[in-house]
């Protein structure tokens, strides 16, 4: 009811807006102040770009934190040049052990909560959803604006936590109690951990507002003819992701408040009776540390899919565009992401196989985890099927998309080792896990994000990025990231534990130092090669060649709008005749067939192009 009211309102608004846009020749009709247009903007495209810029800045922060980790693992206790003083504090560039645990905690926190989740849903979701479904904006623009501005308290809390007494949180991004609850247990368990919890809670609120908006928008605001099964995979993925968020997030939020309660007023949800650490006063307790793990992973396992489904969607679109051929198995793709989402809620226990959880329960989680590899496999085969028989154009965006497929195979397969419970006894909390999730998150999602930026950049800024430098950036990133993350598998095979500031004083791991130095140097170079991307990105915003509406000759609806689209997005009323993947269709002479192009058979269907006033 409410949503249909909103819909009517938007429809009304759209007709006026498009009229105005016409009058002003694509300029912003409302002569609003700078503040209203660019800062507290209600326009989904501006909000998307705000998310994009914020998350890219945090991306570099997270990257620098990782450099600290790699330095310590390559040259334990040696003063770190350049960044040392910044990351390590007053110790003269040497990374103190408590700072090392802070680095691993904050690297993961920043990358997960400030980069991957908001860049996919916040930046791409915001920018693309209305454009790809033929809407003029999100269903509730105010909520959309708030979802961005609620990130700022989070930025503030996490940013500030580096400067409070004891430093930022040090209990891992998983924040397991009692370490994260008992203040005496670690320096970072002072205010740092409280700020961490507040920060994550605000990210949660922001995501929640976003996901409600996305669901409503996708259900209610599709242009005429845009049936659910004509949606691009990106939109399907955003839709399923929004549902995942909406169901999983409340659990994390509740758990976060419980941990705050434990920390601030001694509620003891996660502390056993008489808990103490480092001569802290005894806690009354009455709770269970494992409860936190259950609640945390009940959110955070679905969250790993929140961190990859949109990437999968974007990759599907890019692959089809540049293979110049329809996406193979559209419906199986839709069903497998739905399957992943459904199964995603019953596998969280695979993070807890050796936690002390009932081993019988571990067995059931093992079976469900094995089964969740299935939809991932189906998707991979369909991507290969998409390339089969195409005419592949190796643009930068395409290269990143192909590398997503190639790398996701590795990340998916390594998951099977860890799903096998007896094997996981050995490799749990080793670098094998680190290898696994970097293959899905960095080599997977981050590659898709780069691909997405190269692909949609023309739509975002109306100009093209430089393709040659894009390819240099791709090649360096692709080669170096494999040098960084692939050897981590064999580190993990030897049992090399994660989150250890200096593993080399163990006899078992002593011989792994040279390999770690190799990895670290590859990581430093990987970081450095991103400069190429940064320069290309900013240079192209101002000086790139003009793109035109549809530089890739793509079918998607977003490519029929002006680049960049004005306020209200479309300068005509889009009517959709087919799905987004009709490349190489025998029905037309061109090798692409835009979703809005009326079929030849229909005589004189001019309505497709005519603006509705």
């Amino acid at each position: 009811m409410l949503s249909s009211l909103i819909y009517d309102y938007r429809k009304f608004a759209m007709s006026t807006v498009t009229a105005e846009t016409h009058a002003a020749h694509g300029e912003h009709a409302h002569t609003s102040s700078f503040l209203k247009t660019y800062v507290f903007s209600l326009d989904h495209k501006i909000i998307g770009l705000q998310f994009l810029f914020s998350t890219l800045i945090w991306f570099s922060v997270g990257g620098l934190l990782a450099m600290g980790i790699r330095w310590q693992l390559a040259y334990p206790w040696r003063a770190m040049p350049l960044l040392g003083n910044m990351l390590a504090g007053p110790e003269g560039g040497q990374i103190a052990p408590e700072n090392y645990t802070m680095l691993v905690t904050m690297h993961a926190t920043v990358m997960i909560f400030f980069v991957i989740i908001p860049i996919l849903a916040g930046a791409f979701g915001n920018f693309l959803i209305p454009l790809m479904i033929g809407a003029d904006d999100m269903a509730v623009p105010v909520l959309n604006m708030l979802s961005y501005w609620f990130m700022w308290p989070a930025f503030f809390f996490i940013g500030a936590s580096f400067f409070v007494e004891g430093g930022a949180a040090q209990a891992g991004w998983t924040s397991y109690p009692p370490l994260s609850v008992i203040q005496e247990a670690a320096p970072g368990s002072l205010e740092g951990q409280t700020l961490w919890l507040l920060g994550v809670t605000f990210v949660g609120i922001a995501s929640m507002m976003g996901s409600i908006n996305y669901m409503t928008t996708i259900i209610q605001m599709r242009a005429p003819g845009m049936t659910m099964f004509r949606l691009p995979m990106t939109i399907w993925a955003m839709f399923i992701t929004a549902i995942l968020q909406a169901f999983a997030l409340p659990v994390l939020t509740a758990a976060g408040f419980m941990q705050l309660g434990d920390r601030l007023v001694g509620t003891g949800f996660f502390l056993p009776e008489g808990a103490m650490a480092n001569n802290s006063p005894m806690e009354t307790g009455g709770g269970q540390p494992l409860l936190w793990q259950h609640l945390f992973w009940f959110y955070s396992h679905p969250a790993v899919y929140i961190m990859i489904l949109p990437a999968m969607g974007m990759v599907s679109d890019i692959l089809s565009t540049f293979a110049r051929k329809p996406l193979f198995g559209y419906k199986p793709m839709v069903y497998s992401i739905s399957g992943i989402a459904g199964l995603g809620f019953i596998v969280w226990g695979h993070h807890m196989f050796v936690s002390g959880m009932n081993p019988m329960l571990g067995m059931t989680f093992m079976v469900s985890t094995m089964m969740i590899a299935l939809p991932s496999a189906i998707k991979t085969f369909n991507w290969l099927g998409t390339l089969w028989g195409g005419k592949i154009q190796f643009t930068t965006a395409m290269l990143f998309a192909i590398s997503f497929v190639s790398m996701f195979i590795i990340g998916g397969l390594s998951g099977i080792f860890m799903a096998a419970t007896p094997v996981d006894i050995f490799i749990h909390d080793t670098y094998y896990i680190v290898a696994h999730f970097h293959y899905v998150l960095f080599c997977g999602t981050a590659m898709a994000v780069f691909g997405g930026i190269y692909y949609w950049f023309p739509k975002m800024f109306g100009r093209m990025m430089n393709d040659s430098w894009g390819k240099v950036h791709f090649t360096l990133t692709f080669v170096l990231m494999n040098c960084v993350f692939y050897p981590m598998h064999i580190l993990g095979m030897q049992g090399f534990p994660r989150r250890l500031a200096d593993p080399y004083h163990y006899e078992t791991f002593r011989n792994l130092l040279p390999l770690n130095q190799f990895i670290s140097w590859a990581a430093f170079l990987l970081m450095a090669s991103q400069i190429i991307f940064v320069i290309n990105f900013f240079w192209s915003i101002f000086f790139g060649p003009r793109a035109g509406r549809n530089p890739w000759k793509a079918n998607g609806l977003e490519w029929q709008a002006p680049s960049p689209p004005g306020h209200g997005n479309f300068d005509f009323q889009p009517i959709i005749y087919r799905g987004p993947y009709e490349y190489g269709s025998p029905e037309t002479d061109e090798d692409y067939y835009p979703q809005t192009q009326p079929p030849k058979q229909t005589p004189e269907s001019a309505e497709g192009k005519a603006p509705v006033h």
Binding site: P97, P178, P497
Partner: protein, 257 residues
């Protein structure tokens, strides 16, 4: 270079396999296994490695082949206008499903042996993790924990008889830790307020690393211990020595729990 990009992606399976082939030559592999159930775990690991390895090689090579064959620059044929294949979908759903289900069922026994069916013997030792040390309490001559003759050691060295079934009780005094013996392929988180059992049999004498595998604070990295497997007579002598040592030290009354 023509087909540069296809060959770049071809490097993935080539170097991917090469890494695993050459790693043992650089002495990087599963660490030496001295336990009984370790072999089952290693075999399972290798089984999955070969299986996933085959899938990896096949899919990555298919990817390479498609990139090479259907390169838009050289492929003259019109694109294959296909939206998918029902038969293929069935094939590549059913085959992986059966394989995955097989792996799931195949390993259940190993898991049960490692974590579900403890041997019916009394505790060999109680292990307590605390920031940042492993403490050990042996039951002493009466074979019962928490009695006057218990032996408490806080030097991070655990002595165990070789070739005998061992049952440990493991707990934590403060935060989470994880008792990890890489050479025995056993790992168990220790949780304050809970007592866990761990059982295994060491088959080779000698000293091996005890690693803490769960982040427990700034000193996590140095929460190191050693486990020594001794022949039965040496083990008994060692414990007798500890008892004697403890009796001379009147101050150290074993703390009651």
């Amino acid at each position: 270079m023509k087909h540069f990009w296809s060959f770049l992606f071809f490097l993935v399976p080539v170097l991917g396999v090469a890494t695993f082939v050459f790693a043992p030559h650089f002495n990087i592999w599963l660490p030496r296994d001295i336990s009984e159930q370790g072999r089952t775990i290693d075999n399972l690991f290798m089984f999955i490695l070969y299986l996933t390895g085959a899938v990896f090689i096949v899919t990555e090579c298919v990817l390479f082949y498609f990139l090479w064959k259907y390169d838009g620059k050289s492929n003259e044929k019109p694109v294959i206008f296909s939206h998918g294949s029902h038969a293929l979908e069935l094939v590549w759903t059913i085959i992986p499903a059966v394989t995955l289900l097989f792996i799931a069922i195949y390993q259940m026994q190993a898991w049960a042996n490692d974590k579900m069916d403890p041997p019916a013997i009394s505790y060999t030792c109680e292990v307590t993790g605390r920031q940042f040390n492993w403490d050990f309490r042996y039951p002493g001559p009466d074979n019962e924990l928490y009695t006057q003759d218990d032996i408490v050691r806080t030097d991070g060295k655990l002595y165990l008889p070789v070739n005998e079934e061992i049952l440990l009780k493991i707990t934590s005094a403060d935060v989470l830790h994880s008792f990890f013996l890489p050479n025995l392929r056993v790992k168990q988180d220790v949780v304050p307020g809970m007592a866990q059992k761990m059982w295994f049999k060491g088959k080779k004498t000698g000293g091996y690393d005890i690693v803490c595998a769960e982040l427990c604070g700034w000193g996590h990295y140095k929460m190191k211990g050693r486990v020594y497997f001794l022949p039965r007579d040496e083990y008994d002598a060692k414990l007798a020595e500890f008892t004697a040592e403890q009796n001379t030290m009147t101050v150290e009354v074993p703390e009651e729990e």
